[in-house]
């Protein structure tokens, strides 16, 4: 069994990213869309970590730590928004959130 190489990591990362994108596009619940977005973010993180590991450059891993930190803050804000939205509209379905449409 050959050792796991960079391509394998990137394939996993791409799959995760596409799953996330698909989730964003087809799901209707804002909460789930939000989770899918996080999935895409983590797919990118995985790719960065893999590149860092195989190129012997630690900058990528530092960046990953940064992204995780920022994403945590972002999640806090995002979830707060969704909770506020739910309280106001009693729904988290995107079809019902089209008041910006002309």
């Amino acid at each position: 069994m050959s050792p796991i190489n960079l391509q394998d990591y990137l394939v996993v990362s791409s799959l995760l990213f596409c799953l996330g994108l698909l989730g964003v596009i087809i799901r209707r619940n804002v909460l789930v869309i939000y989770m899918s977005l996080e999935l895409m973010l983590n797919a990118a993180n995985l790719a960065l970590a893999a590149f860092s590991r195989f190129n012997n450059n630690l900058n990528g891993q530092v960046l990953v730590i940064f992204i995780i930190t920022v994403a945590a803050a972002e999640v806090a804000v995002g979830l707060a928004l969704i909770v506020a939205l739910y309280r106001r509209r009693q729904t988290t379905h995107v079809e019902d959130l089209a008041t910006m449409k002309l």
Binding site: L21, V24, I25, I26, R28, I33, E95, A98, M100, L102
Partner: protein
């Protein structure tokens, strides 16, 4: 500059106009006194100047620099020679008589003060034209005269006809003045000076100075005279200008302002070349004949006199065109006297009949208004050229000039003389003799002394005007040294044929008028010559023709502008339509669905990646 008297002559009337406008507009009597005082003092000062001036003396100039622009100095000056002194006397003399007459005629008018302010303004502007020594100053005063004429024609501006007449006069004059200004600029660019004397000198030194433009310069400057002196084809404004008060018609539209055109032609006579002079002579001839014909079938007393003025102005212009400016100035002077007299007489009649101007509603005024009757008769005889009266000599001078210059023009002149006698005696027989034709005429009364006195003074001037030797006074300035000092029967020695034919014309005219009108109840001509009468009554349809021409021109311009406008409108619409259509199309993408946006966003990135990486 050391001598303040000449400046006083010019600026006293202006001072009076300003004082009246600023302070005494409410007090009519005081305003009248101011205005009359100003012009009478100007008259006395002019007489003083005139006495101290010998005919052979060199012209005197006084001028100050008014504006200095780069190398160009614009002077404001006064030029005194025989020509301007004669004109100065006419303007202040006739002007004084008319100012005094106005005191009586305008009595009771609510705008008494305003009337005198305008009269003073006019006097100032007219004196400015007479005295100016350069083209630019003359043009400025020329326009000022136009303005005061506008103000006075439209004096009773609440009457639409008066307001329209004022507008018509102003606009028609504008047309002539445009040519005049173009001519001035052209002459200035070629001679390099605006001053009359310097321009004259340069033309004498270098006769080819205008090169091929000589005729054009002359004719453009003549345009100014065509407008101001109401020559064909810009004559249409003068008869309408009779809407103004009668003293205004007498002063501005008979004696002085309309003569300014002729005066200007004499002043810049050196500028005209032979072909320009031929045109001038013919325009004058055509105007005099046309106006005399029209005058035969008018019924408004002032309009008859207005057409008569046109006709006489045509005579003067013709004389200038025949290279005899002294004859033109002579006729200008005598005409100023007897035409002012006739207008004031007409004013007296109109005043007595409570503003009735139709001669067929007058009649038998001889007994009611003796002074008006006798002075009017003298004026009529003088105008028709009755021997020993002033008009005889001046008209004969012009006919003699035509006799020497062109037989066709002489024939026109003689015919006009005949017609003049005819229409003047038609007016005279119908209005003053015959039967009383209306209620108003039966209650007529003689005008007050303040009105009859100027009539008498002007009548004396009309009778004696021929004896002063005006030709001999002005002649030397135009290089005529052989002008004889006056002799009563000089016309018969000088050009016997012309004088005799002139007399014959007078006799035929008066006989025809007597035969047709002495006992007429109504005008017999419309029955005898219907078509001719109708054409003359409608003034050869000039007003209608101009109205149609102007309407057609404006329609064409309007149609073009409309087409142009349509093009622009279509262009704007196309731009607007495209924008709107694009907007509507793009609006479909704005679904408001988060998923759609995300999908499009992802698709876009996929597309970009495809192009960047795989191509």
């Amino acid at each position: 500059m050391n001598d303040p008297l000449p400046w006083l002559i010019l600026f006293l009337p202006l001072l009076s106009a300003v004082l009246i406008t600023l302070f005494t507009l409410k007090d009519g009597r005081f305003s009248a006194m101011l205005s009359v005082g100003a012009i009478v003092i100007s008259l006395l000062l002019s007489i003083n100047l005139f006495i101290n001036h010998a005919a052979s003396a060199p012209p005197q100039d006084i001028s100050v620099i008014w504006l200095s622009v780069g190398k160009l100095d614009i002077h404001f000056g006064m030029h005194f020679d025989s020509l301007s002194l004669l004109m100065l006397l006419i303007v202040t003399g006739v002007g004084s008589a008319i100012h005094i007459y106005s005191i009586g005629y305008m009595k009771g008018d609510p705008s008494y003060g305003r009337f005198f302010a305008c009269l003073s303004l006019f006097t100032f502007s007219m004196l400015g034209i007479v005295l100016s020594d350069n083209f630019l100053q003359m043009f400025i005063f020329w326009e000022l005269v136009g303005t005061s004429s506008y103000l006075l024609i439209g004096f009773w501006f609440t009457r639409p006809s008066a307001a329209n007449a004022a507008k018509k006069a102003f606009l028609t004059n504008r047309l002539g003045d445009f040519g005049f200004l173009t001519g001035i600029i052209l002459a200035w660019s070629m001679t390099g000076t605006l001053n009359f004397a310097e321009a004259h000198q340069r033309i004498v030194n270098n006769p080819e100075i205008f090169d091929t433009a000589a005729t054009a310069v002359g004719l453009l400057i003549f345009c100014g005279a065509v407008g101001k002196s109401a020559q064909f084809p810009l004559h249409v404004w003068l008869p309408d200008a009779m809407e103004g008060p009668t003293p205004v018609s007498a002063l501005i539209h008979a004696a002085t302002m309309v003569a300014a055109g002729v005066y200007m032609l004499c002043r810049v006579f050196f500028i005209f070349d032979p072909s320009a002079l031929t045109v001038i002579a013919w325009i004058g001839g055509i105007t005099s004949l046309m106006a005399a014909l029209i005058a035969c079938q008018q019924n408004d007393i002032k309009r008859i006199l207005a057409y008569s003025t046109l006709s006489q102005l045509g005579y003067m212009v013709m004389a200038v065109g025949l290279k005899e400016p002294p004859a033109a100035m002579f006729h200008l002077a005598t005409h100023a006297f007897f035409k002012a007299l006739l207008f004031l007489g007409a004013g007296s009649v109109i005043h007595a009949l409570h503003h009735e101007q139709d001669i067929w509603k007058m009649g038998r005024l001889k007994d009611k208004m003796p002074i008006t009757y006798w002075t009017f008769l003298l004026g009529t005889l003088a105008l028709c050229g009755f021997p020993l009266l002033s008009g005889f000599y001046s008209k004969d001078a012009i006919l003699a000039a035509a006799w020497r210059g062109s037989m066709t023009l002489f024939a026109i002149g003689a015919l006009v003389a005949c017609l003049t006698t005819f229409y003047m005696f038609r007016l005279f027989f119908v209005a003053f003799l015959g039967k009383v034709r209306s209620e108003a005429a039966s209650h007529a009364h003689e005008s007050p002394k303040v009105m009859t006195l100027p009539l008498i003074v002007l009548a004396i001037a009309s009778v004696l005007g021929g004896f002063f030797g005006i030709m001999a006074f002005v002649g030397p300035q135009f290089g005529e040294t052989d002008s004889v000092v006056f002799a009563p029967f000089e016309p018969f020695q000088n050009a016997p044929a012309a004088a005799c034919l002139g007399l014959a014309a007078f006799a035929i005219g008066i006989f025809a008028a007597y035969a047709l009108y002495a006992k007429a109840e109504t005008d017999p001509l419309p029955a005898k010559a219907a078509t001719l009468s109708r054409v003359l009554r409608n003034k050869f349809y000039f007003d209608e023709l101009y109205a149609a021409l102007i309407a057609a021109t404006l329609d064409a311009i309007a149609a073009f502008a409309d087409g142009f406008d349509f093009g622009i409108k279509m262009l704007v619409r196309a731009v607007k339509g495209t924008t709107e259509l694009t907007g509507r199309g793009l609006r479909l993408l704005q679904t408001g669905s988060l998923q759609t946006y995300t999908f499009l966003f992802a698709a876009g990135i996929a597309l970009v990646l495809y192009f960047m990486l795989l191509r």
